[in-house]
Symmetry: C2
Subunit: 347 residues, 2 copies
């Protein structure tokens, strides 16, 4: 059936008794070819086991149909969801997204980016690794390849970013905690070198300000954005003389860690200490107790990012507007009322 050596359009042409131009036209679905000829050519394509060589075509056409997705942590289900959203719209547009993982490593990211560029991607959607240098994308921009940031952005970059309304989400969550009676509040996890951190912490502080929570009653503990980081944050906070009674966590992973650390101490999230997460990953709903979290419509953001990218490619620009996605608070069992404050009121 298929020959050992790779078949080319010339083999097809020979097989079908036409010129290679005709084969190329058929391949591109041109209407210029007589139907009978096209059928004959298509049969020949089958017979020789032809595989289209997109590299050769791109070389000639000078544009490609692959878009790179560069993600900082593929093991975080959050990013997998984002990827799924993007793939949905790319598929419809006939473009193929290739995903690569940087594992939160700027050096690896550099390599991955280089590879994608060499491969001739039409555009790049990236969630930059922590510690990415401000100039990391200059060459790519200079080459005229559109880039959009998803979920994360770089401090002073003009690259368009698609992200949830972090500040508002954090603000909503903090208000919720305050209305539940909590007066000593913590913000757990993350570090200030991430723009997202600054936004989320900003929302937390804004709500504290609005409800006149004194500065001494605001505890901020930086830490890894993982379960482990969350566990450490709780330990640190509980060792304080006047520990907080509730915490907004940088993300759900941190929140899960806090819940675990509470359990290890024989405490229960919701009853003994209120916990709120961020991102509302699928697991939040099924956790025990159910995790109150800020929903960010992850797949929707992925779709949006893909659309922006498609438009940039089409209009041959590297500029686009930022997009801030709506957020909402999903209240579950992990964020119960303050008990200690009732005692405090009584005293």
């Amino acid at each position: 059936m298929a020959s050992r050596a790779k078949a080319t359009i010339l083999d097809i042409a020979r097989e079908a008794g036409v010129s290679k131009s005709t084969v190329s036209l058929v391949l591109q679905g041109s209407g210029l070819i007589r139907p009978e000829t096209a059928t004959k050519v298509r049969k020949a394509i089958e017979d020789v086991g032809y595989v289209y060589n997109r590299g050769a075509a791109n070389l000639r056409k000078a544009h490609s149909n692959v878009i790179g997705m560069v993600i900082n942590d593929l093991t975080n289900p959050f990013f997998a969801e984002l990827a799924v959203g993007m793939e949905r719209v790319f598929q419809a547009a006939g473009v193929v997204p290739f995903i690569a993982n940087t594992a939160e490593n700027p050096v690896r990211q550099e390599e991955v980016l280089k590879s994608m560029m060499e491969q001739g991607v039409a555009g790049l959607i990236v969630s930059p690794a922590r510690g990415t240098m401000p100039g990391a994308f200059r060459r790519i921009e200079a080459a005229g390849v559109p880039v959009v940031f998803a979920m994360r952005r770089l401090p002073e970059s003009r690259i368009p970013a698609i992200a949830p309304d972090n500040r508002r989400g954090a603000c909503l969550a903090t208000e919720h905690l305050i209305r539940k009676g909590h007066r000593r509040l913590a913000f757990f996890g993350g570090s200030s070198d991430l723009v997202v951190y600054q936004e989320r912490l900003g929302g937390f502080l804004e709500a504290c300000e609005a409800f006149a929570i004194p500065v001494v009653d605001r505890t901020i503990v930086e830490g890894e954005t993982s379960r482990k980081g969350g566990m450490a944050c709780l330990e640190t906070a509980l060792a304080m003389p006047e520990p907080p009674t509730a915490a907004l966590c940088f993300n759900d992973a941190v929140a899960f860690g806090v819940i675990l650390a509470l359990r290890k101490r024989g405490l229960e999230a919701g009853a003994d200490f209120a916990v709120v997460g961020f991102d509302d990953v699928a697991e939040a709903e099924h956790y025990s107790p159910g995790l109150t979290s800020v929903a960010v419509d992850t797949a929707g953001l992925g779709e949006r990012a893909a659309h922006v990218m498609l438009k940039m490619i089409q209009s041959r620009t590297t500029r686009a507007e930022d997009h801030i996605g709506a957020v909402s608070l999903v209240v579950r069992e992990s964020s119960g009322p303050d008990r200690s404050s009732q005692m405090g009121d009584a005293a």
Copy 2:
């Protein structure tokens, strides 16, 4: 700095005052070039903002450095771990893995595979989607591109597969349950169109046989391989006249579902019903209660698959041996002793 139009080796040659052959040699790190010349060329490469065009190079060289990873469900953290393992060895070998997700859809898989082939991948590592037709990889094999299956395999395929020892894992887990005193056992989740299912179920039955568990006391409930599927399985089993007291689940996702469904009924995994999962994803350790599960060394399997692929490419073959990875049972709290049987003994 960088020019608008894409720079080519000709631009570099002009800038550096050498021929384009010399530039090409420098690009390939050839030792034939005088150091001073190489330095001069490298400077020119910087100055013109050159991006290597791998497509053009591959066209000439007729081989590429990209390997495709085609995964059936990127949102399952299990596959992300597998991908991470593969990336580790590919990175060291200087090859770039591009990941694509088929979302368990054979049609989508067809498209993704076609795209990868057109892109000129050197090889393909795939975890085939459910319902993949036996002939789905014939064309790819015929084209001489090496394929290895990871985690899953196809019924009658000669494509090498890298997978854990499913049968042994299931057997170990079932023995564990029996030694804990359970005599009415269930196998939850999965469906018989997956080879993996047959292997895991086979191990379950083998252990039942070895310990002379009567056939009437073996409950097999097929179902989706997700939390939801697990919840449904438990409901089905508990509605039986003589319900099982323990279950081996097709994978951890199903097991998490079973634990949730138990909790909804006011029962606790471990104390009221024993649950064992399969895969030992990271979450298993942190779940409440901790999930007993069969550890399969996911990242290790990923590395192994990558190594096999590299060797196949190097030796220009599409054949290789299967690799069956060792497994072990990690016992946690979810698999407690049978209580009902003590009552039964007393009666």
